[in-house]
């Protein structure tokens, strides 16, 4: 794959993170203020992280420390999102406990392997697997309760779909990259993750738009 194409897709991916944030600013709904706030913070975290890492990359500064902080913050926001959406279905303290466990494990791995400034394989795998599991549980809940008359009107349907696609691709790509394609060619797989990230941002923006007051 040519470098030009790689950079083009990466730039589009970074730019696409603006979409959910802008949509969030126009979709505030007092009735769902908790959900709105967590989605807004998620969008903000993605954009801020992308912008900072782009800036650091321009100045040839190691971005892995930022990546680890970003992973912890973003995964914690997923925890809050699922604690809200899975309320009365899964005990929210189980969700929080799982994510606190993840953050502690993340910090321990970084400390003991001295991995603050380099990638650590296990971290993205767990940080994708945890929300992905809850994503499937949320779909299961929706299916079980069947309380939404028109599925496409539900913000959760879009947000969950976006999360499932992106984290699913990221998880499989990471596993493949770490355990199957150990050489440089495996990095090409990451292009699909970046591509899925663009799809994710678009679908996620639709989800945020759906929570606005009508």
């Amino acid at each position: 794959m040519s470098d030009e194409l790689y950079y083009l897709i990466t730039d589009i991916s970074i730019l696409s993170t603006v979409i959910p944030l802008v949509v969030a600013l126009f979709s505030y709904n007092k009735a769902h203020h908790k959900l709105w706030w967590v989605l807004f913070l998620m969008s903000f975290t993605w954009l801020a992280s992308d912008c900072i890492s782009w800036y650091l990359g321009q100045h040839r500064i190691n971005t892995f420390l930022l990546f680890h902080i970003y992973k912890m913050v973003s995964t914690s926001l997923y925890a809050v999102f699922f604690a809200i959406t899975l309320k009365d279905f899964v005990n929210r303290w189980f969700i929080y406990l799982g994510f606190i466990g993840y953050v502690i494990l993340h910090l321990l791995v970084l400390t003991y392997t001295d991995g603050w400034y380099r990638p650590v394989a296990i971290v993205p795998i767990i940080s994708s697997a945890l929300p992905l599991t809850l994503c499937i549980i949320l779909f299961y809940r929706m299916l079980l309760e069947a309380s939404i008359e028109k599925l496409t009107d539900s913000p959760l349907y879009w947000i969950n779909s976006a999360t499932l696609i992106h984290l699913g691709v990221a998880l499989i790509a990471k596993i493949s990259q770490e355990f199957i394609y150990l050489d440089k060619a495996g990095e090409n797989l990451w292009m699909i993750v970046i591509f899925s990230s663009i799809i994710h941002n678009l679908i996620f923006a639709v989800g945020i738009w759906k929570i606005r007051a009508k």
Partner: protein, 265 residues
Amino acid sequence: MEDSSQVVFIIIVGSLVVFLLIMLIITFTAVYNRRIVKKDNELKLSIKNRELAVLRATIETQSSEREKIALNLHDEVGPLLSTMKLKMFQNQKDFKAGTMQYETFQNDREFLDTIIKIVRKVSHDLSPSFVTKFGLLRAIENFMNEMQGIDAEYESNLDEEIEIPNFISGNLYYIITELINNLIKHDGIKRLVITFHLEGEELTISMDHDGTGYTQEEFDIFEKNSKGLGLSSIKSRSIVIGGELMFKKQPDSPKIEIKTPVTVP
């Protein structure tokens, strides 16, 4: 594997993963929609069944009331009138013989009063005209005054001016009186406080009593297993007026609550 063919392979695998995930979402959507359609059909069926049950209960109640009236006329009014006829016949004889006593007139008048009372009761069963003429509150007050051996009182924030449609007040009257009769008969109550509270368009009638009380589940079981029509009639009438019946079994004060709109649904 060569580098370029490996890239193609990776793209194929990656696309397959994306495709599978999208398929997963599409499958979820399809299953969900099927479930919604099924649920919708079940709901429609349950509404239809409920409407049928209400209709059946209404028809059964009507025929039971007719039977009751016929029975009252046949077993109570009929024999009393026959007795009265015999008495008049005897009076005629006594008058001819000059043995007519003043007490006889007194007894006959009392006897006629009893017949009038029974006829009035039958007429009342047929149509609670008292409710139509004087309103629900007065009708309930009247009913409570006639109850014997019960310490009953009522409180109300209802404006005398308020007009509750006859359809609602008539059904409410029947529900309340039937509930009171049941409480006296089956729960042995000695004290009863009825509160009418109107807020906006919703009227709440609370019946606090000193009996054991029933929970909502207990009432539903009684209603289901009951051979009489009283309970099912109470339920069907409350549905018909768009009201809700709630049974609460608090240890210190069991109560029954009826919430109903004061406009015809």
